[in-house]
Symmetry: C2
Subunit: 199 residues, 2 copies
Amino acid sequence: MPLGELGADGRALLFTEARSANKFTDTPVSEGQLRDIYELFHYAPTQSNTNPLRILFVQSREQRERLLPHMSDGNRDKTSTAPATAVLAADLAFHEFIPQLFPTRAHARDRYEGDPELRERHSRFNAAMQIGYFVLAVRAVGLAAGPMAGFDAAGVDAEFFASSTWRSLLVVNIGEPAEGAWFPERLPRLEFDQAARIV
Amino acid sequence: MPLGELGADGRALLFTEARSANKFTDTPVSEGQLRDIYELFHYAPTQSNTNPLRILFVQSREQRERLLPHMSDGNRDKTSTAPATAVLAADLAFHEFIPQLFPTRAHARDRYEGDPELRERHSRFNAAMQIGYFVLAVRAVGLAAGPMAGFDAAGVDAEFFASSTWRSLLVVNIGEPAEGAWFPERLPRLEFDQAARIV
């Protein structure tokens, strides 16, 4: 059974014309939009349906002020003025949800319980994959994403996740792009033959 | 400047109705379709534009036979009959491409050169994020993806990447879904309030 294809507008919006934004208008991002992003990306697949990605959406001024000192110098100003910012994290205790997420394999919980190293590797890999879905879901709801790896992860974890099993991986600003949100020229990518082989 | 939103058909195709496929028709996947997948996902962002994901697309019978012994028992039959299979890998030597990918920060190459542990962490995290883009790009070109973590990564690396810096992360079958490609009921996901907080 043939499936449909994504049309030219959708390809442009999510992939070919989309850019990472560094500057946003002051149009607010609503809770409804944040829930729409979640609704979309959370269906995409993870290993054994474990879904280890967690999201702290930072919107209030007060909470944003707690985040800013942990951002690298080049990322602080834009994070200060973004309408919404997502701190994306891996849950090292993702296995506690296995009985809910995969009832017929509920026993897998115990294997992860006894192996913290496996839990850490599994949660970071699968949460990273989900971050890929997340970035494209932000674009799907009509907003621009500005992903940033330049921040002090240990500092963010101590500030926001001290009493939890969440560990920050990436911070993403979210909003409507302002004039000059990105450089005119996109950086180059690898050619197909540099990154892929068909055998 | 407001951006467009992805329409209902696109949301269904990529996110809300899409399923991981376990069974494919014998309709071939063309080289053109594999290149279309690459064309779409390769624009999506990575940290410092390093783009560490590599793809070995396995199509020929001969190469597929080399892959099958390394798949877990539950994944072997479907991988044997899938029209195309992608072995997704992180390139531990991704930093060699930095002068091409980020010319004004070409010197970053040297920092990675001297820190193999950083290279490994960076490449695995960013390649995993790109796998998220990849899975949605497969769906965007009208094909179904069947991601599989159940395989012997060390075995695959020894078989295909012995003389290279690629390290396998995930194997994904690709094709047109056959009747019964997935179970009728999708496994549950976490509710918004289980995985996200707004502050």
